[in-house]
Amino acid sequence: MRSHSGAPPSRRRFLALSAGGAAAGAAALSGCAMPVSTGVSGGGETVTLMVKPEDISPELVKQAQKDTGITIKTVQHDITKLIAMLTSGNPPDLVRSVGAVDAAFFAARDVMEDLDPYFARSSVLEADDLDPVNDLWRYDGRIQGKGPRYGMVKDFSQDSMYWYNTSAFDKAGVEYPSETEPVTYEEWLDTAKRLVQRKQGQTTVFGGSYSGLTKATLFTTMTAAAGGSLFSDDFSRIDFTTPEARKALAWYIDYCRTKVGPSLIQPDPNGWDGPTYQAGRMAMSNNGYWLGGMINTDKKLAPVSRLAPAPVFEGGPRISACQGGTGLWMPRKASNKDAAWRIFEWFFGEAPAKERAAGGWGIPSLKSLRPLMPAQEDYQKRELKVQQEELKHFSVIAFTPYTTADAFDALFNQIATAAMAGQMSVDTLAGRLNAAINEQLKRGKEQVG
């Protein structure tokens, strides 16, 4: 072996050095993985928000700096990235999530900060001003809707409601649905069948779209509307074979089989209802008040659009839940909690909240902001009246902490497509869904402990 300094390293030595370099590099990378600057930096503090671009515009980021003196740094919302940041102990200071399905999941895994002490001393977000929808972000260790608050809704809708286009009804000679009294789900489907238009195997106008925000929330709310509960009392199991859950499942499979609206076996190429409804190719669209934000910018569409109450099942209670409740929460290991809370207050109670309330893209989550909801035009006044009546029927439908809605939907979609195509009975489907989703819930329960 040559030992003088000019000798080349042996292959073995070189590989060992490379491995050492790689290990050192890996250590360095893990040390600086997803750096979150949350400490004091320069002139002011910096708070990192993991959000979607539509949640906070660059103008609002500047506004935050002006209003609070705090710099907002945004990170694109991505669940995989969030998990990596949480696992490495370097989470963002505030995170966007969907309250209806994410709050219990994250709270049960002990990664969320209890915000009760912050709310208690806040003069911006006062307890009696909070809309009941914010209870979606409460979890007491067993059930969603009770216990400490872990987050807050930015704005919301009652997502079982639907919009309809009166032009499509006029063209088909069908009577408009009532804006005060709910139709039954069966009536809704019959109406959709009369409104759908087809030609040579193609659907030119969808009679109606009804798929909920996610399949998970669709079935929890529809089962509740049938008078039952999809989950067992401890949320560790589901049962699609109960009469109420089966009724909801059978209705949805019937909706898919009749092909009156978009579904997995007849997807909407636009990916969501908005552009299709706007183009006059959908007579009814299952979306809540928030869709008015889009509809009311179209001066032709707005006057012919109506908002209607959430359908009910014959003999079932009138329930109109929020299936989303998107908002922000603070990770327990956030490193700049006080500054994060200041941004939280600003986002939910100050300029951005007022701007959202006036925009018509949802109902504000503070009662005091409701007077800002748009009511200049006749159609806006009309929608607002329907919405205000519907709020009387709001309730929180608790979701299980043992699975994500994504996992629920993935399993449902995988199993149910055959039933939608008429190749599987509803009872067989119910049994298979129980087996697959309960297995996922069992794994989740073991992991939560």
């Binding site: 000019g6 490379s18 370099g21 995989t80 030119t204 996610t214 979609n413 073991e446 992991q447 939560v448």
Partner: protein
């Protein structure tokens, strides 16, 4: 002068220059070989470090994950040894997805090689605007898969796609191209659409075939087919082997079915029609939709070994038919 001779000349000690610099004897002597070695390692080390960091380290991490119930976030994950591998053996969805992936490879790889080779032969002929045709045929290969997925989804949509527009124009009923049983054909079309990749490599191979061999065959009275079969294909066989191996690896790893799925995003992976629910879709669903990092990692390690085995088998079964245009003695 051969390379070795050049090397030996360069390695000879040189007399010290008379410019006042320290004599060579006072400095450590660096031979040309040593310098060449050092240069080699300096040039390759970025790749080797990158390979170790970005390939070996994640693979080892995934191997460790495959022995756990880790879901990325929950506190009570545990080590389960070979539990995930044992579950995998009994999971019919996994085996069905693997079978479909194998079938897809068996169909798409030969078809795309035939299409690419056919196009290469066409654009290798002395035709007008040959350069333009080569460019146009290669263009789809540079379109990112996401763009191709959106284009195919739009083209084959049942209610508003151009394909059904043509069908209905001629009085036929529209078809649900993106659902079973047609979805598998659309998937194959996406592969054939990018045959320009294979065309370019095959074209390079074709241009390397000595012209005099074709002329000799023509003088001997061989038909065009016989010339192609006995001269062109053997000389192209290393290129075809390369395309087969890389094609098989790419086909089992394709994510195109996800891009053609009815729903976008992670939840949409299980909306892929059953005939297109290939092995990687199953892996994707386990990782990102169900949060089963441990099980998904086991699936990936199994795929890794299967690819190694299949690649080895391809080399073994083609060793006698692939013609390497090198001096066999030079290998020794």
């Amino acid at each position: 002068m051969t390379v070795d001779q050049v090397s030996s000349v360069a390695d000879r000690p040189r007399p010290a220059a008379s410019t006042g610099r320290a004599p060579a004897a006072d400095r450590p002597r660096v031979s040309m070989t040593a310098r060449r070695h050092r240069a080699f390692y300096m040039f390759t080390s970025p790749w080797i470090i990158g390979f170790a960091l970005l390939t070996i380290a994640p693979m080892v991490y995934a191997l460790w994950l495959s022995f756990t119930t880790f879901d990325g976030i929950s506190p009570n994950w545990r080590f389960i040894g070979l539990g995930n591998y044992s579950e995998l053996l009994q999971d019919s969805v996994t085996w069905n997805a693997l079978g479909r992936a194998g079938l897809f490879a068996l169909t798409s790889v030969p078809l795309s090689i035939i299409a690419g080779l056919g196009l290469a032969i066409l654009v290798n002929r002395p035709i007008k605007a040959r350069g333009l045709f080569r460019t146009l045929l290669y263009l789809p290969a540079v379109v990112p898969p996401v763009g191709a997925g959106v284009a195919f989804k739009t083209l084959f949509d049942q209610n508003s796609g151009a394909t059904n527009g043509v069908l209905t124009l001629f009085g036929f009923d529209a078809l649900g191209w993106l659902a079973d049983p047609y979805a598998r054909y659309v998937l194959i079309m996406t592969v054939l659409w990018t045959a320009g990749n294979i065309m370019i490599i095959s074209l390079a191979g074709l241009q390397d075939v000595p012209r005099e061999l074709h002329e000799a065959a023509r003088i001997d009275g061989a038909s065009a087919w016989r010339t192609f079969r006995s001269i062109t294909v053997p000389l192209l066989s290393p290129v075809l082997l390369f395309q087969t191996v890389t094609g098989v690896i790419a086909s089992v790893q394709t994510i195109m079915p996800l891009l053609l799925a009815p729903l976008p995003g992670t939840g949409g992976v299980t909306t892929v029609p059953e005939s297109n629910y290939l092995y990687m879709m199953h892996v994707f669903a386990q990782y990102f939709a169900l949060g089963r990092y441990g099980y998904a990692s086991a699936l990936l390690w199994v795929l890794f070994f299967l690819i190694l085995i299949v690649t080895g088998l391809i080399f073994k079964f083609t060793s006698g038919v692939v013609f390497y245009n090198v001096d066999p003695e030079a290998k020794k």
